[in-house]
Symmetry: C2
């Protein structure tokens, strides 16, 4: 069988061994420093949930991942369990393990967006961004980014007005906006969205935070099936207290529809003392 | 041993039978129609996680509950499992069962807010509300509320400017604000917050939604230890599409500190067709 053409699909290809147990292999390309990006692990877990559900509910209308311990490149053992199969929704639990310890646990509520319908009663308009070519390409040449291999897999264009932190001048408004698509031209689909909500630089950087911001937990929701093309992402935080913050992401597709959103709780470090 | 003095604590008192298995009993007072309020079940699950953790991490800095099937008043079997015990955080999983089926699964990341510190880098100011006595007391005499027994357990005062839906005139701004405390004068503490984030009438009502709005999943976070006294709660939604919406809740204590916030994905029904 020929290899799958795109990097995300190759990584999320689970070799099932029966009864909800399988294995996947993560390469070095999905890392931030030595550890694997949480978004990639959520894409893997939600893909596993769909494949193991057996109900045909193919859309993660709500998923919640708790990150217990960092994942390193290499084999990942996947265990998927069906908790309940209802008429409209299927509930799954997925563990990702390395060296016999659970690194990430994900609860997934699967549904079918086509059945749910597409009546729009309210939906926030997408942010107005400069054209992608007038935005700042986030690549490994930027200060502090040389160890973020993940950036090679993405085509991420930051709105310059929300990227002043890269020049040492964080706005402290707690907002970042960007265009995003895959560097290898993989089409945008539902399976990509759990990665996309956690693919931005941490919003903590715009609050003056420094260094890596480990995610403790992230809950996300696919709200519409995206069309292929550029996605727009906005991330925000408003409560930054005691070394933790929440980061809310909203993702719009090229038609302006909200296709996914998420909230994560993450750590944040500051070089100096805060306003206490 | 005398009974515990407050209703929440009596309901969340788990009779442990060893190895993380226990039982609690929910009375009719926590119901909305025939089913038990999700907030009460989250209070029970997070209490179980703390008691079964064995690590001394006493604060749910992130929890995620997926609701598979409604819980009815009566006995609830509790099963708590420790997934990982780290230096700063403990990861727990808690199942709530009735009649041998899992009704609610909750992942809980426990920490210690005192250790995390209280530097405030950013925090939204609490909403300005009329005094509690100038607000609308949400009780069972209001239209459509006679079956909401939960309202007898709460002292919930709605900001009249966000309660026009009760008069058949939803603002469609997707916002609701209130003061809240317990009807039996139970002091406000960390253990109360998972209940409080899901104690408001559904924000769907302010969007013109009708009837009961079942929660599929809710993720919450305790951000500070509250002082006792009135809490202020604001709930909002912005994306109401295809029979689902997100509801974000923020809770402030009497000092104006954000003490908890949450996001849930819930169902919504409309009497007529939407803007599609």
């Amino acid at each position: 069988m020929p290899a799958l053409p795109f990097e995300l699909d190759r990584t999320c290809e689970i070799q099932w061994r029966g009864s909800g147990e399988g294995e996947a292999v993560v390469d070095e390309g999905w890392t931030i420093g030595p550890v694997v990006n949480g978004g990639l692990l959520m894409a893997m877990a939600t893909t596993a949930a769909i494949q193991a559900s057996g109900t045909g509910h193919g859309h993660p209308v709500a998923w919640s991942s708790h990150f217990h311990e960092a994942v390193r490149p290499g084999p990942v053992r996947v265990r998927a369990e069906r908790l309940r199969a209802g008429r409209g929704f299927t509930s799954m639990s997925v563990d990702l393990r390395q060296q016999d310890s659970v690194r990430v646990t994900t609860l997934v509520t699967l549904g079918d967006l086509a059945t749910l319908g597409d009546h729009v009663h309210a939906s926030p308009a997408p942010p107005v961004l400069p054209e992608p070519d007038a935005c700042l390409r986030a690549d490994r040449s930027a200060p502090g980014s040389s160890e973020v291999a993940l950036l090679d897999r993405l085509d991420l264009r930051l709105d310059p007005s929300t990227a002043m932190w890269a020049l040492g001048q964080p706005s402290r408004r707690g907002v970042m906006r960007a265009w995003i698509r895959f560097a290898d031209a993989r089409p945008i689909d539902v399976a990509a969205l759990p990665l996309v909500v956690d693919a931005m630089p941490p919003v903590a950087l715009d609050m003056g935070g420094v260094g890596w911001a480990p995610t403790l937990a992230l809950t996300g929701s696919v709200r519409s099936v995206p069309v292929d093309g550029w996605l727009r992402v906005e991330i925000r935080t408003s409560t930054v207290v005691g070394g933790l913050l929440e980061e809310d992401a909203t993702v719009w597709d090229d038609t302006g529809a909200v296709v996914a959103h998420s909230r994560q709780i993450a750590g944040v470090s500051f070089a100096g003392p805060g306003r206490s």
